[in-house]
Symmetry: C2
Subunit: 115 residues, 2 copies
C-alpha cells in the first residue's frame, strides 16, 4: 500500500508533553497495534519550541534527525543532536527535545511496543 | 542514548533480495526483539539498482521516501513514489523497489514484528 504525502495527517500541537510553543506532527502511517507499531511520524520543531520531558516504559522511541539541530535532555543530561544522529529512549527512560536554532529541527519518530 | 551518525554501520550489499546492482544500507539502531523492533535503517539506491521482491509475513515494513524517486512493485502492480510517500507492506504482501532516475533514491525503512 502506498500512502501519499498529501494524504498524511498534519497536526499543529501546542505544548506537546508540556513543551514550549507549538510543534508540527505529520503522522506517516496509522498505528498497527497487532504488529506493535505505535507511531511513525515526522516532527518539525521551530526555534524556541520543544517536546517536553516524558517517559517510555514497555516501549522504545527512536528520533532519527533529518535536518536542523536539537538539544536532547535525557536522564543523564543534555546533548546536542545533528542530522543522522538517532535518539533511543525506552526501558523506563525519559527524554525531551528542543530547538534553539533558526533552522527548523526535523526528525522521524518511531515507537514500537513490548505488548 | 544517542547514536551518532558516524557510529552507524554502513554496508554495501550486492543483489539484496536478488535485486539489481548494489544498495547502501545504513543501520540506524540495533534491533530490539523484545520490543518487536526488527529494523531501523536508511537505504540509498543508485540508478539501475534495486531491492528485489520479498514477502513480509508476521511483520510490517515501512519505506518512508526522503529523496529521489522510486518504482515500487506490489502484488497489485507498479507505482512511482516520491519524497514524503510511505510504502506499507505486511500481512503476507510482497514488494520490491528500484531506482530508474539519476538522483539517488533515499528512504528510511522500519520493520516491526507480530511476535
Amino acid at each position: 500500500m502506498i500512502i501519499r504525502s498529501k494524504d498524511t495527517k498534519v497536526e499543529e500541537i501546542a505544548h506537546l508533553r508540556d513543551g514550549e510553543g507549538t510543534v508540527t506532527k505529520r503522522t506517516l502511517a496509522p498505528a498497527q497495534p497487532d504488529l506493535h507499531q505505535k507511531l511513525l511520524a515526522r516532527f518539525t520543531i521551530k526555534k524556541g519550541c520543544s517536546i517536553g520531558n516524558h517517559t517510555h516504559t514497555g516501549e522504545v522511541e527512536y528520533y532519527y534527525i533529518l535536518s536542523g539541530e536539537g538539544v536532547v535532555t535525557e536522564d543523564c543530561g543534555e546533548t546536542s543532536v545533528f542530522p543522522g544522529d538517532v535518539v533511543v529512549t525506552g526501558w523506563g527512560q525519559s527524554h525531551s527535545i528542543r530547538n534553539e536554532c533558526d533552522k527548523d529541527l526535523e526528525f522521524v519518530a518511531v515507537i514500537t511496543t513490548e505488548k
